[in-house]
Symmetry: C2
Subunit: 242 residues, 2 copies
Amino acid sequence: MLFFTQCFGAVLDLIHLRFQHYKAKRVFSAAGQLVCVVNPTHSLKYAPTRCAAAQASAEQGILPPCHHHEAVHDPQLVPCTCPLFSCPWEGHLEVVVSHLRQTHRINILQGAEIVFLATDMHLPAPTDWIIMHSWLGHQFLLVLRKQEKYEGHPQFFATMMLIGTPTQADNFTYRLELNRNQRRLKWEATPRSILECVDSVISDGDCLVLNTSLAQLFSDNGSLAIGIAITTSKVHSSEAEM
Amino acid sequence: MLFFTQCFGAVLDLIHLRFQHYKAKRVFSAAGQLVCVVNPTHSLKYAPTRCAAAQASAEQGILPPCHHHEAVHDPQLVPCTCPLFSCPWEGHLEVVVSHLRQTHRINILQGAEIVFLATDMHLPAPTDWIIMHSWLGHQFLLVLRKQEKYEGHPQFFATMMLIGTPTQADNFTYRLELNRNQRRLKWEATPRSILECVDSVISDGDCLVLNTSLAQLFSDNGSLAIGIAITTSKVHSSEAEM
């Protein structure tokens, strides 16, 4: 009997350890889908000039990639690849993933469809929620940003960027889906290349945009779940078939 | 030979007349879907106090139906059923459809899926584009509104209201879909009852919201096509099956 009690205790300990491990990773599977709990990256230091040229162009309806900045002389060096508000980092495209993982401890998740669960939606703007999504041999970056485009009226902007070139990005389609309270909102688009600068994509509003009240309707206990799916674009997949 | 030439001329005339007829109705069928060209209803007269009570409640996250206004003593009389900005009309629910048809010349379209083509999107706010959609034995009202919630930043708000009670509205789901320029935006929700006042739905942002730049991306030559579909809610349809 004592043996069985000890065995049972050991099994419980193992379960507890396993639970702790999952809690630490904050990635779990719900209803067959990978759910990643994403904590906010809040920064009071706002760098409005970082993509000033891109933003000025965005206001005119054009979105040049950030590596077209006049100040950048080395075409291999990209100034805007770190999408975090406060990060002044510049670097080559090839090392963006390791920069995001090492410096910002951003998780990478794999899977055709994942759920991005952003916590603490009430935090003041500017705030970023970021994960990397590895699928179809590429790394994508999902950025959810709370920002006050109009003073006193924070909005949420969500977009997916390919950590790759614009030509590579054209091969994919991403989908973001919110589903709660008898409401469903779906946004499908071609991902932008990370070279195009997340700031200008968001300032241009060419992404999923949520006002605060809609974000509240889709939130559960201060957390917003966004379903993410990435597929290859039809044109390119039919080309691949040929 | 002369006979054939005359016959050909007569056929051409008939085709021309037919074309004129369709142009006058401004409803045509494209790829099997009914397309309705909707001209804007522009008004400089803005009535911010019309739903003041509902809007004040909406700011607190509550959306009481407009017929809860203290000023309304006859429960059968509803003050907000005419969704047009400038219209001070009040009336019984049963006569809303005829008011909208006769006073505002709003079209009624029938079909499971229709395309709402709003013209002259560049017109200044406040502007409304409205049609009625008759389906599943009920009349629905699609309201697209251009409004400056934040001064100097017009946005587009689209919602579907049932010309009926909130209990009847719960039986349906509506879908609005924009699809252009490799982007797709879908909004699905339960329609609100027209008794709940379109102004408060829009001020609360519980509808499809588009900023100007996104509206431009989805527009073609100043016109915005919105695909509309209405279905019965799953819960209720399964109840009906039982």
